[in-house]
Amino acid sequence: MRSRSSISPGWTLLLVTTLLVCIVAAPTFGQMPDDGVITFEDTVQVMVAAPTSLIATDHKYDDGEKIDLQWVPSIDDLPGIGTVVGYRIYRQDDGGVAEVIANLPAKANHYRDENTELGHTYIYSVAALTDGAEFMSNLTESISPEREWIDFSKRYLFLIALLVGGAVIYFIEIARRGKKLFVRKIAGLEAVDDAVGRATEMGRPILFIPGIQDMDDVQTLAGLTILGRISKTIADYDTEIFMPVSRSLVMTAGREIIKSSYQTAGRPEKYSDNMVTYITDEQFGYVAAVDGIMVREKPATVFLLGAFFAESLILAETGNYIGAIQIAGTARPAQLPFFIAACDFTLIGEELFAASAYLSEDPKALGSLKGQDVGKAVAMVIIVVGVLAATMGQAWDISSMNSLVDILKTIFSTS
């Protein structure tokens, strides 16, 4: 006799099949397929809440090419649960079809659209993505990007530049009126004449290396301005100079400078284009060639003035090995220790930029150095005030000091 509570084989088969399907499908919840493509057929849809409070705003202080989006992520975008695998940004351009413009990871809550055009109107929406489904937010109000004339986010930088630039121009004007300005002695530059004289006495050449950057680098420019001063002394002393370069434009500029110096010294016939030669743009190819020149020609004096990278120590040590007197200068802090260790004199950072003015003894140029000192004095005062405020604010929890630190951070923050 059949029991009334028994289940028919058909129902049993259906139940077992359903259970098996659940067991097999369970691990796929909240996972992205290996190939990164979401397929509706392979996965089981999970309902999640859509992102909310989506706002589109025109990006401030740009040329009308950016719109910022912000939203509150889905409430199901929780750490460790993983039902939301990311967000997809849609954009309607001038009422057209909504197009995907970006896919973002989970937890994202903002996006900057940097491909907008002036005069166009855009509507955005953001979808929370699960494995196989999208849950759309509301649409934004239609928005058009706008362009601005002044970038007010750089106002503090502008004021600082105005202060430093104004101080430089003021002291140039003071110097122009004949006021004597004190400039401290820079040992490396005091030694330039001696170094050139040494080469003359020894009858050996002078090697000038202007770094490995092109004319668009201010350090190269600073190196070449110093060359302008040094080459005059070299031409006066009738010493031989050799300048291997790694950039063609530096070669043409270097030739022009040395040629003019020889003409000024009244020895144009002594100048030769072979004094300045191009080697190669390749960093270590250039180093190999210059090292070879140093070892073969044994220059009495080596100037290393400009932008240097890993080659700085290779060049300076080779110069040291051949017994040359070496004057180096760079504005790359990472290379300064190498020059200090291997060279006789090193122009540290700002000294490289001051060198030309210092050597020229032109009052106007020296005035610019004074203006630079004003900038340094202001920086020193602000650093001391900032350090004191931060220390007092943290040690005794003085809110006014913490506010002062915040103000200084706002003014001097570069990001």
């Binding site: 202080y61 740009d62 362009r147 601005e148 002044i150 970038d151 430093v164 430089v168 140039i172 201010v218 600073a222 070449l224 301005t225 110093i226 060359l227 001063r229 063609s248 434009l249 070669m251 043409t252 400078i257 040629k259 003019s260 110096s261 000024t264 030669t277 191009y278 190669t280 743009d281 960093q283 270590f284 190819g285 180093v287 190999a288 073969r296 890993a310 120590l313 290779i314 040590e317 504005a331 802090p333 300064l336 220790p337 190498f338 260790a341 291997a342 540290i348 950072g349 700002e350 000294e351 930029f353 001051a354 003015a357 020229s360 610019s368 150095l369 203006g371 630079q372 900038g375 340094k376």
Partner: protein
């Protein structure tokens, strides 16, 4: 006029570049890109000046049989080899399996790496000279370098394992790098920034002309 025109161009372009940094509006917004493109074009054209100069000097050296003229033959031969292969292989000369990339990967790169590797020996000889305790400052430098180097390798912490975590050599090394070293480096950076402003103003105002020659 030979000097006035470059000075005028430098002054105008300098001012425009300062201004464009604070104005996001077209055409100022695009100026940086335009000038970069123009510079790249000038640079690309100028490379021929350099290459021709290199060939000229090498050829002169070979013709006059000057000392080490044999190396000039190597320069000329390598120059033409790489240029000819580049032209033969056309636009895809940088692709995988090309003769150009083979030369780059198996000739240029090892030679370049060899030059770079020499740095290790030069660092040793320069450090030896720099760390000689001749005076107070050099002794201070030696001491700081000793502890920083020891703190950067596992043996430093092994030697000071008996100390609490924050007082071991690695912590001391990090402190030296993060505070005294960073402070000194930032002071140099501030000086450099002001030096650049001052130099730029001298060039823009035409006070600094020695880079044009003759001053």
């Amino acid at each position: 006029m030979r000097r006035e025109i470059p000075l005028a161009i430098t002054g105008i372009v300098g001012v425009v570049f300062v201004v464009q940094y604070f104005i996001p509006h077209f055409p100022f917004s695009r100026m940086n890109d335009w000038f970069s493109d123009w510079f790249s074009i000038v640079q690309a054209c100028a490379i021929w000046l350099g290459a021709l100069n290199l060939l000229k000097i090498s050829a002169q050296k070979i013709a006059a049989r000057k000392s080490d003229w044999i190396y000039s033959i190597v320069i000329v031969a390598c120059f033409f080899l790489i240029v000819i292969i580049g032209f033969i292989e056309g636009e895809s000369f940088r692709g995988q399996g090309t003769a150009f990339s083979w030369l780059y990967d198996y000739v240029y790169t090892p030679l370049s790496a060899t030059m770079f590797a020499i740095l290790a020996f030069f660092v040793a000889s320069a450090s030896y000279r720099a760390f000689r305790a001749r005076n107070f400052e050099a002794t201070l430098l030696l001491g700081a370098a000793f502890f920083v180097m020891l703190g950067r390798v596992p043996v430093g912490d092994m030697l000071t394992a008996f100390l609490p975590d924050g007082y071991r050599l690695s912590a001391l090394a990090s402190w030296v790098m993060n505070f005294p070293q960073a402070a000194g480096q930032r002071a140099i950076m501030i000086g450099i920034a002001l030096g650049i402003v001052s130099t730029s103003l001298r060039i823009i105002l035409g006070i600094e002309r020695s880079h044009l020659g003759g001053e």
